[in-house]
Structures are given as structure tokens and as C-alpha cells.
Amino acid sequence: MSPKVDSDTLRVLLVDDHDLFRTGLRNLLEEQGVQVVGEAASGFDAIRIVREIAPDVVVMDLNMPGMTGVEATREISSIAPLTRVVVLTISDQDEDVMDAIVAGACGYLVKDSSIEELMRGIKAAAIGESLISPPIASKVLQRMRAVTLDQGAETIRSELSERELDVLRLIANGKDNAEIAEALHISPKTVKNHISNILMKLQIENRIQAAVYAVRSGIV
């Protein structure tokens, strides 16, 4: 169970180049008992303020003139690892989400989030947990899955010879040893040897696992 966070003790820095949005957010967060300890209109100012007052959470816009929110997030993660960054932006583009997360953001919310969602995101960040807007979370998962598949395919390609890859593809297509031998113009015994090598290199136990591995990795 997550520890409870008292809003009154949360010290938050708001970073957004739009005064109107910053002011509105400040008013609303303060109504919720959050202590807004500073505001910054640029990444540079944000870093300076983080060095001075080390807030618990930085609520960071991404698209700002000069230093971007991603660059500022990276710098803050480096100089103040205990300060958590929650990105609050209009963008739900894959690239922006992944860049922000890789830079060290522990939350990613879009600006049309309700105040309840914002509070959940800020409180989660304060205790080192993460909250990502649900529509964005599904996109991130898809992206991560794609990366994992790419890495799986890469692993297989680097481990197996071209001939073993041919055999693996045919296994995944449901061919038995005789059919594989015929398709590749090799003997059934050679097929058997290739399969043994595949199982050993991929550290799996049988041809069904090999087929699943191949499909999940995007080889087939």
C-alpha cells in the first residue's frame, strides 16, 4: 500500500511559459493545500530555482522557448535526484512522452487533466511513484512493446546463424522436421542439429517455445 501524502507538506514548483496557465494552476493547487514554492517561465529559471529551494515536485511544461522541458527535466534529475518531475503538457505525441520519461520525468499528464488527476499525479510523484494519463499510458505500453519486440528480434538475429533463422521461421509456421528438411534441401538429421542449436542458444526447452519466441519477437 502506498504511503499517504499530506498536500500541506508538498512543496511544488510550477514551470510553464504561459502566465495565465501558471496562475490558474497555482490558485487551484493552493486551494488543494499544496504549497507552491515557486514559478518559472523557462527551463533555465526552473533549474536555478531547484538549486535554491529543492522542491519536492516540479510540474513541468515541455514546449518552452530556450531550454525545453525535456532538457530541464534531464538537468534537474541530475542535480536534484530527490526532486520529482511531473510533465504537464498539451502533447500526447509518442516521442515527447518517451523523451520526457527517458530524461527522468516520473509522471506525464496532459493539460486537460482534471484537478483530481493533477493532484494524484503530484502526490504519486512525491512518493516516488508514477502516474501517466491513461490514454498516454496505453500508447507508452504499445511503444515499449514494440521496442521489446525489436530487441527480441535483434537478440535472435545476433545469436542465430542465417540457416538457424530459416529453420526457426519454418518451425513457427508449423512445419515438422521432414517438411523443414525438404524446404531447405537438407537432411532431417541436419534439421535436428539446427533445432538443438536454436534451443540451446535461446535457452528454451522445445520447439513450441521456439515458435512462440519467434512470433513474439517479430521474426515471423
Binding site: 490558485n27 487551484l28 486551494e31
Partner: protein, 106 residues
């Protein structure tokens, strides 16, 4: 606030009605600026919603305690809450359309 909100709705609708392509299409920066204005207005409405809900809860609680001296205020607050919720839903729907437009804009 009403005037400001009307202005925000006007800006968002004007951009949605503008051409999506060609020289007359609004630039991405302009779309993003209006989006941010819209999100600021949505935050303010959200704040109104929360304050109204809190006040309604207080009045309902006092009703439950036997104090029925302010039914008119309760009715007025509930009507106001519905209006704010409608505005918020309309604004968010328009902002979502505009956000999609901005994502496609060069």
C-alpha cells in the same frame, strides 16, 4: 469570467473553423497558444466546480442536521454546478478537437 470564457470559446471555434491546410491554415504555435488558454479556462472552471460541490455538500449536510433555512441557495448552487459542468464538458470536447488539429499541423 463569463466574458473570458466566451472569448476562449470564440477563439477555439474560430481556429476549428479555419482551413486545415494551405496558407490560410493557422500555424501550430497559434493553435498551441489557444489550447493553453483553453486549458487555463478549463482549470478555472474545474476550480469553480470543486468549490460549488464543496458548498453543496456543506448545505446538504446542514439539511441532514435539520437546518432547512436555505433551500433557495441550494437550488441556485445546483443549477450553477450543472451549468459549470456543461461548460467544462463543451470546452474539453472542443479542446480535444483542437489538440488533434495541432498534432497534425506542421
Amino acid at each position: 469570467m463569463a466574458q473570458t470564457l466566451d472569448t476562449v470559446f470564440e477563439h477555439v471555434r474560430a481556429l476549428l473553423a479555419a482551413p486545415q491546410n494551405g496558407g490560410a491554415a493557422p500555424a501550430r504555435d497559434r493553435l498551441e497558444l489557444t489550447l493553453t488558454e483553453g486549458y487555463a479556462a478549463a482549470l478555472a472552471l474545474d476550480g469553480d466546480r470543486m468549490r460549488l460541490e464543496r458548498r453543496i455538500e456543506q448545505l446538504t449536510f446542514s439539511f441532514a442536521e435539520g437546518d432547512e433555512s436555505r433551500p433557495e441557495e441550494l437550488r441556485r448552487l445546483i443549477a450553477r454546478l450543472h451549468a459549470v459542468e456543461d461548460d467544462l464538458a463543451d470546452l474539453r470536447a472542443l479542446l480535444e478537437k483542437l489538440r488533434r488539429r495541432a498534432a497534425k499541423a506542421a
